[in-house]
Structure formats: structure tokens, C-alpha cells
Amino acid sequence: MNKIFLFALALLFAACGAADKDEVTIYTHRHYDVDQKIFDDFEKETGIHVNVVKAGADELIERLVTEGDQTSADLLMTVDAGRLVRASDAGLLQPIASEIVTSTIPDKLRSADNSWVGLTKRARIIVYHPDRVDPANLSSYEGLADSTWDDRLLIRSSGNIYNQSLMASVIANLGEDAARQWATAVVENFARNPSGNDRDQVKAILAGEGDLAVINTYYLGLLLNSDDPQEAQAGEAVKIFWPNQGNRGAHINVSGVGLTANAPNAENAIKLVEYMISKEVQELYASANFEYPANPNAEVSEQLKSWGDFKEDELPLARLGELNDEAVTIFDEVGWP
Amino acid sequence: MGIQDHKKGALVRIQDISKTYQGRYLALKTCSLQIEAGKLCAVVGHSGSGKTTLLRLIAGLERPDSGTISIGHEEMNSETTFVDPARRGVGMVFQNYALFPHLTVAKNVAYGLKRSAASKIDELLELVGLSGYQKKYPHELSGGEQQRVALARTLAPSPRLLLLDEPFSNLDADLKSGIRKEVRRIIKETKLTAMFITHDLVDALDIADEIILLDQGSLEVHCQIKELADLEGHQPKLQASLDRLCDRSRKILEVVGSNPKKTQ
């Protein structure tokens, strides 16, 4: 008993005594293996150790607020622009002073003050079963409200950030009232109560519970390359449709990174950001994680190429964050669980 | 009353002690008594008469509401002081012996010793007739053996005063008389002052030097056993109390087939 107690104390003190070393701490909502590989490579190249805290973006933002000027976080990484905007609005971020960043990443994928920068893009697309859906009937997100799709549409719950930002983009483009009408009609078309994740929606198409679904490109890539042959088969069985190609383009969101206002290792942090937007790393995101690179010079992977080129919605991403509240409110009002 | 007057060298002095439980139930009302050094004193009374409370107050396991207790020349508790049970030099043998189940007999006996010496432990175990039991665990012993271990354990730190709570109640009737004598022998051999609780008057009459009778929290009688017969003034009251007690003793004795006449 005594020994265990001493061991426990030793562990406690070991954890408290944070030694000074060349390091950078990143709070991230991304839980991908490829990220860890990139951090490891970065350490090999620069000798700077990357501490990673993984949690939900909202928890991380709350943590930054509370920690104030005593935070150990240098970077905040999220899977959507909305959260970065929120962090920026709360004064938690500071501009990333880097020529490399501003010259590499297009304006619309960065905040105006460069306090955050997009790393990768994901598009919200429509997938459908080719035997049951004539792609000629598909046009846009707005088209999903058509009664043709009554009892045929699959989509996950409104708690999901990708749905929230899709709704925000609809509000930005159509206005609040039209967006509400749209959402009401979409809910009418649900094949089932929203549940499960994006992969589950695709599997439900295969099972015949619905005929088309709104999902994220990134998850389709995961599905197609799944270790489970049945999943890969589900991915093969559906066809992909890029919505709104005739007008504003498909809705995209970014996974991005912001520099915290009180970053203790800001210099190292900027080095890491520059590393993450480099061509090689960007291509790694594309090939290993099926995300579209934010760096225009980076090549997309074979898998992404097979889905074809598409037109992106040019809406500034910061707008999505601003409209997030309204989006959630509308979801609740129209009864989109 | 009784023997109070001629006590100069009292070891235990209790003055106007009262104790209530949970603010309601009155266990002892303003009791006063003194016990002379070297005496073996029986405390008798019904259940609920305050016998156990009296012993626990002396041992320091309870705090009185008012009154003082002194042992030797030290005041154990009063308005301002309270001496911990650990520093009173009072040993107590509990009704169910309270042996430490995770320790061997030897370690149980050694527990209260400042410096544990094997010879001392052997000596104590020999005194209680349990030589060779050192390595056994309490659950391997019979009730009588457990009681003797408890006695040896209590004697080990050489207490000034020995308290025994119902030491004979858990024993078979045919063993009882022998063990009673044995306990008296040990107490006398070690020249201890001792108080023991019993609800059986036979125990008291058989081995005690003096007797305390408690009734509903009040001290009714305190006298030497040999004085019992001469207590003219208190005869009716004592008789009534004793009758009640004797009734019960007789019944118990009848059940086990002993001779009830001894108590009369």
C-alpha cells in the first residue's frame, strides 16, 4: 500500500513539473491518425515537440476562455470555420504573421485578419442510388425540398456541425424566411428520423430505407476505403452528385487552424502552420484523409480526382460562423432533430 | 451509603456523573461512587440500567454530560479536560472480546505493548493458560479461549484498572464457574483493581469483593459482599431489586439444571 501511494505521488508530481523545452501545444478537434504523423514528421524536421489535446471544438474554446492568459495552447484546430470565427470573435485568436500563409492560402479560406487559416476543404454532397434515382431530377440543395423526394431523403441530425453550416449557407443565400420554408419541406421528405452518422446514411440507401442522402465527401472517402468490404461495397453502390453547379456551387467547409491570443510559443506555432500548408503535407491530407487541400498548388489524390471537378460556393467562410446560431434556431423550429 | 465513608485510598472516584443519549434517553443520573485499589467489583442491574454506560464513561469511550471522574490522582474529565481513552491506563475486555481478526493471538496480545517482547507475551499467555496459541488466529479459537486472549491482551500494557463488560455471558453454563474462578485468580495474581458487569447475581456473589447495583440509571446499592446480610436499613429495597435479579438468575439456572438455592 505504501509503495503504491508513493508511486501515485511520484506520478502526480511528474505530471505537474512541466519542463521548459522546445515545444508547441495544439488544441484540436481533429482525431485523425494522419495528423499525428504530420506532427511527428514536424518534430523530426524541426526538433519542436507537438503537444496535442484532442477534444470537441466547443470544449476547447471554453477551455481557452477560462485559461485566459495562462493557457498553454498555441494553436486551435477545428473541423469547421464556424468555431474558428467564434473563437476569433471571443478575442481568443491573434493574427498569424506569416508571408508564407498569406501568399499560399486563398483569401476566402482565411479570416480577414489572418487569425485563422483553412487547411483542408470538405464538400457537402448528394449521393444517390442509381437504380432508384434519376440524376436528371437532382439539381441543388434547394431541390431537396421538392415533394419528389417525399419519404426518400436521408440526412443526419442537426446536432452535426456540417448540417449546421450547410443551413447557414442556405440562410446566407436565400434569407432566413426562405431557409425556414426550405427546412420545413426537407423535414417532410425525411425517410426516417435523423440518426447515425454519414456512413450510416449511405448504408441506409443500400438497404432501401431511402434513396438519396446528403453527406460529407470526407466520409465517402473513408467508406470507399474501409477495411470492411461490406462498407466499401455500400460506397461503390451510390453515385455522387455535385449540387448547385448551375448557380453558386457546392457548399464547402474547411478544417482550419487559429493562433491563440496568448500563445506561449507563437513562433513555433507559426512554423507548424507553415509546415501544415506546405505542398507535401497538403497532399498527404488529400491522399490519407480524403480532404481537398487548401493550398491550390497541392495535387488532389486519385480518389478525389475520381469524383470530378466541381464549383465551390464562394461565400466567405466567416459568414457560416456568424449564421450558425440562426441555423440551429431554425432546425429546432422546424423540428429537425 | 454503605462503604463510602471509610474509603481513603480510592483508585476510582466518580462524582455526580450524568449521561444522556441523543439528548433524550437518560442512561445515568448523578451517580457518585468510589472504588478502592485492589478490589474486584461487580456491577449488576437490568439491561438498560446504565451498567455499560458506567464502564464506558470510566474507560473514556463516552463523555459524560456532567460530573467528574478521577483515576488515581488524575482527573479524567471535567468541564475543561478530557483524557483520551488511550492515556487513561484503563483496560477493557469487551462483551464479544473484540479480538482483531487479522492478527494472530501473539500479535493481539502484543498490540498494546510499547515494545513487543516475546517473553512478555509468552508470560501473559501462560497466565491465562493459553501457552502455545501464539500463532493461531481468533476465528480458530473457542469462545472461552477468545475471552482469555482478550484478557491477556488487556493485561499486557499493565492497566491501573481493568473493566470487563459481561465477561461470562457468552459462555456455556458448565464452563462458567471454572472460568469465573480463573478470572478471579488472574486478577488477584496481578493485584489489579477490576470492575465487571454481569446480569447474573451468581457471578457477583461468587467472585466479587464488592457489588454495585444500578437501577434505571441510579446507584441503588454499593457494598461489600460480606456486608450484604448486615444491610438492615436498605434491606427492603435491596431485597426487591435482588429478587428481580435472582428471579432471572434462577430461571437461567433452572434451564441449565444447576442448583438455584445458592442465590438465596
Binding site: A8, V53, D58, E62, R192, R199 | F100
Partner: protein, 536 residues
């Protein structure tokens, strides 16, 4: 000054330290509802309420059904492999509810394991959608019924033989004995287990979110994250706690005022009845089915995810995470139990009646959603950090934010009840006399605690350590919020992968979690058997 006032002060100080989350939480409640409260009450509050009630009734009922029937068979009948069944029945508890949810979708869902097996034998079923409230009831019941089982089993196996014999002499049939004697006597224990089930149901986040069911806890997260209204989230948590208290009181009231304790306690336990023929088959089915659905199928499903994706490096990585996870859980478990012991005895040694009751206050943490504890600790910790910075110029932020100490503190706060109540019950049962004997032998209170009470309580202490250890290993929301940057836990990694729809990667840490908990349950059972042999 009386010496016991030192204990009063010590108890008070400890309780105060353990009250930081309450203080932060209460000050949050004082601040009133947030700007989205109207929105929440209009669209959600009745849904939260109705869904939570349905879940509690459904899960409570099935858990009791499974838990009591299995406990009865195990403690009453001699069936082949009884000991092994008995241990296996604890193990579904090792599978966190959210993992169980993903597993069942993977089993019976579209393109799931059952569908594949069906295709092998030529059927063309496409699977079923269980992502609804009934599916949630099923999934939660399967991973929570062992709480009832454990409680009921302990109670059934304590019933003395004399009781059963008396009942037989009075002409009671087996079923009559069960319903009119054994079950009513087991009721307090079963209710204790049922309460744990209810708390877990109310606290579940991952499974309900995945299935798209709105409950109080998903509502708290929605209010906090999507609606950006922390204030209303705190208020919802307040409502949840009130709801939990109402449930507790209702269940406790149903116990009535009959005393069941008196008749239990001592006596030789009843001999188990040997069964044969159809009855034996039935008894076997009763224990085998819950194990099949709650453990064997899920583990097979986990393996079916792990095997195709298995590779050396990820195994080593997960092994390292497992080591961290186990160390943190062990540290938390030991410190929680030490806290429980200190609280138990310090409060006992003090003289003030009010302070004697304080420990009960410190053990309500189990009913507070983990996420709320995390938030409350952050805002509570902020006062300390600011105070230290303003007054002394110390920068202690790293201790409070994202350090191991605060995580451990949070675990202690959350799981104190798990350790405290069994220890309190055992110490009450053992009584005070050993301690008193020790005092009269010249030992101080602390010496007595160390030399007598702790050794005597050892089996109960180890049991408490293991219980807290298991709970800590599985804990999710608190760990999510307070996790230090250099530590990962199995539960966390499993959840992160599952949320990112990578079940093949989530399965390995989940499987490790199940193995560790399984091994521990086995050890507890085994040590119980060997100690009881020692005593005879």
C-alpha cells in the same frame, strides 16, 4: 479546546475542497437562465422530459428483469459452469454505452454482421434500423443490467438456509418463496442497483446522440455547443439533477417502511438446488442469453472490426494508451478511496452532528453530468488561478487547466460515492468495538485507523478501489473536457474514432477496455472465493 474539534475542522476543510464544483455550479444557477432558454423550453423541454422518462422506465424494467433473473439462477441453482457464468454476467458493464450503441448498429444494422451472415446462408435481409428510442433502451439495458445483477446476487446469496427451510415447511412453492420472501428481501439491494442504472441512463451522452434521441444530457451539450448558451446548459443540468433527485426519492419511497435488514445477516447460506432436464436447460438459457447479447455478440463484433484492420504499430500505440489509461485510473481509484476513508473517519471522530452529515453532501457528484462537472471545475478553478496571480503573482494555471491533478480531482468528486457508500456500510456492519478496544489499549485514532480499521476493511477497500477504477476507465465526458495534453485514455480514443466513423480503429481500444475490466472482475470474484474459504 477539545481534541475532536481538530477532526471537525479537518472534515470541514475536506468537504469544502470537495465542494468547489457545487459552489461554481450554484453561482451559475444564481445567474439565471440564458438567452436561449425560451427557445429550449418551447422546442425541447417536454421532449427531454418525455424521452428521459421513457428511457428510465424501459431501461429500468429490462435491467431488473435481466439482473434479477440471472442473479436468482446463479445464487439459487447448481448449473454447469455456474462460477464462470457468474463472472461473465458482470462483464457487459465493461462495454461503455456509446460503444454498445455502435456495436449494435454494426451487428444488426444495414450491411452489418447479421446481414453478411444472412447472405452466407442465402437470405436477402438488409438489416434493421435500431437507431430509435427502443434501440436505445435495448442497448443501454444490455450494458447496464449488471448493476442490478451484482446487487441482487449479493442479496440472494446472503439469505440463510434456515429461511428457505422455514418457507418450505410452511408449504411455500419455489415461485412463492421467490416472490414473497427472497425478492422483497432483496428489494433494498435491487433498488440500489437500479438507482445506479438510472443515473447512468440520465448521464448517457454518446449513445443517445448517435441514435438521435433528445435527452437532458444531449440537451445540455446542444445548449452549450450549438446554441452557445452555457447559462441555459447549467440550468438544464440543474433540472437534470432535480429530475435525478425526484427519481431517487420515488424509487426509495417505493421501498416502504418495512425492515428487511433484520432477518438477513447471519446463518449458513442456503445450499444450491441441483436442476435437471428441462428446468436445467431453462436456467442455463436465463443466464446465457443476456451474456450472449450483452457480451459475446458485442465482443465478436469488436473482433470483426479489429481483425481486418489489425497492424503492429497501432497495437503498440494502443498498448501505450492502455498503460496511461490504467495508471490514471489506478491513481484516481486509490486517491478516491483514500479520500472516502479519510472523510468517513474524520467525520465520525468529530463531535458536531452537522459535520457528521457533511460527507453525504460530498457524494452527490455521481448524479451530476460529467460535462457539467468539467465546466464547473474550470470556472471554479479560475478563481484560484486569478487569486494566485493577483495576490502572489504565481502562475498556477498549468496546474488547473489541463493538468493531471485537476482531472484526478474531478474523478474523485465524481466517483466518491462509489467508494464511500460500500465502505460506510461495511464499517457500520463491523461496528465500533475493535476501534474502542484499540483505544483502550493505548492507541491513537490514527494508529487505530492504520493498524486495525484499514486492515479489517481491506476486502471492502479493494472492492471499492476496483469499482472506482472501472468507472474511471470508462469515464468519457469529464475526461473529454479536462484531459491533460500528454495523456490519452482508452475510452477517449475509442470515442474519438467512433465519432469520426472509424469503428475499425475504435474497436481495438474498446476491446482492450473490455479485457481489462473483464480481468479485474475475474480477480475480484476469485479473491472473494478464496477469502471466504479462509474464513471457514
Amino acid at each position: 479546546m477539545r481534541d475532536t474539534s481538530a477532526w471537525s475542522v479537518a472534515t470541514l476543510a475536506l468537504v469544502l475542497i470537495l465542494s468547489i464544483p457545487y459552489i461554481a455550479f450554484a453561482s451559475g444557477l444564481m445567474a439565471g437562465t440564458g438567452h436561449k432558454w425560451g427557445h429550449l423550453t418551447t422546442y425541447f423541454l417536454n421532449k427531454f422530459f418525455i424521452n428521459s422518462v421513457i428511457l428510465i422506465i424501459g431501461v429500468g424494467f429490462i435491467s431488473c428483469l435481466l439482473g434479477i433473473s440471472t442473479a436468482w439462477v446463479i445464487s439459487r441453482y447448481e448449473i454447469p459452469g455456474r462460477k464462470v457464468w457468474g463472472i461473465l454476467l458482470y462483464l457487459p458493464l465493461a462495454i461503455p454505452t456509446y460503444i454498445m450503441a455502435y456495436i449494435y448498429v454494426g451487428l444488426v444494422g444495414y450491411g452489418g454482421t447479421f446481414v453478411k451472415l444472412g447472405q452466407l446462408v442465402g437470405t436477402n435481409a438488409s438489416g434493421i434500423n435500431i437507431m430509435n428510442i427502443y434501440g436505445l433502451i435495448w442497448v443501454l439495458s444490455l450494458s447496464l443490467f449488471p448493476y442490478v445483477y451484482a446487487a441482487a446476487r449479493a442479496s440472494f446469496s446472503k439469505r440463510p438456509a434456515a429461511l428457505r427451510e422455514t418457507a418450505t415447511l410452511l408449504g411455500a412453492s419455489e415461485s412463492k418463496y421467490f416472490f414473497s420472501i427472497a425478492l422483497p428481501m432483496a428489494r433494498p439491494a435491487v433498488i440500489g442497483g437500479l438507482l445506479l442504472v438510472c443515473m447512468e441512463v440520465l448521464n448517457d451522452y454518446g449513445a443517445a446522440k448517435y441514435f438521435g434521441i433528445n435527452t437532458f444530457t444531449t440537451g445540455i451539450f446542444r445548449s452549450w455547443t450549438a446554441l452557445r448558451d452555457l447559462q441555459s446548459a447549467v440550468y438544464l443540468a440543474g433540472l437534470l439533477i432535480a429530475f435525478a433527485i425526484v427519481v431517487t426519492v420515488l424509487i426509495r419511497l417505493s421501498r416502504g417502511r418495512k425492515s428487511f435488514a433484520t432477518a438477513s445477516a447471519s446463518g449458513k447460506p442456503a445450499k444450491r438446488i441441483k436442476l435437471s432436464g428441462r428446468k436445467r436447460l431453462l436456467a442455463l438459457l436465463v443466464v446465457a442469453l443476456p451474456i450472449f447479447f450483452g457480451l459475446i455478440l458485442p465482443v465478436i463484433q469488436l473482433f470483426s472490426w479489429v481483425i481486418p484492420a489489425f497492424d503492429g504499430p497501432s497495437f503498440v500505440k494502443n498498448l501505450w494508451i492502455a498503460i496511461q489509461s490504467l495508471s490514471v485510473a489506478a491513481l484516481a481509484a486509490f486517491l478516491t478511496v483514500i479520500t472516502a476513508i479519510v472523510l468517513l473517519y474524520f467525520s465520525k471522530w468529530n463531535d458536531l452532528a452537522l459535520i457528521k452529515r457533511l460527507p453525504n453532501l460530498s457524494t452527490v457528484g455521481y448524479a451530476i453530468p460529467g460535462a457539467m462537472i468539467g465546466i464547473a471545475l474550470f470556472s471554479g478553478g479560475r478563481y484560484f488561478v486569478d487569486f494566485a496571480a493577483d495576490t502572489f503573482g504565481w502562475r498556477i494555471g498549468y496546474l488547473v487547466y489541463g493538468g493531471l491533478p485537476i482531472l484526478i480531482y474531478a474523478y474523485i468528486f465524481r466517483f466518491l460515492a462509489v467508494a464511500y457508500y460500500p465502505l460506510e456500510a461495511t464499517s457500520l456492519r463491523l461496528g465500533n468495538q475493535l476501534a474502542e478496544a484499540s483505544y483502550t489499549l493505548g492507541k491513537s485514532k490514527l494508529d487505530t485507523l492504520w493498524q486495525i480499521q484499514i486492515p479489517v476493511l481491506k476486502p471492502a477497500i479493494w472492492a471499492a478501489v476496483v469499482l472506482v477504477f472501472i468507472d474511471t476507465l470508462k469515464e468519457l465526458p469529464l475526461t473529454l473536457i479536462l484531459k491533460p495534453y500528454d495523456i490519452d485514455t482508452l475510452a477517449l480514443v475509442a470515442y474519438n474514432y467512433a465519432e469520426e466513423e472509424q469503428m475499425t480503429k475504435a474497436a481495438l481500444p474498446a476491446l482492450m477496455l473490455v479485457s481489462v475490466v473483464g480481468l479485474l472482475s475475474f480477480l475480484i470474484e476469485w479473491s472473494k472465493n478464496s477469502t471466504s474459504k479462509n474464513k471457514r
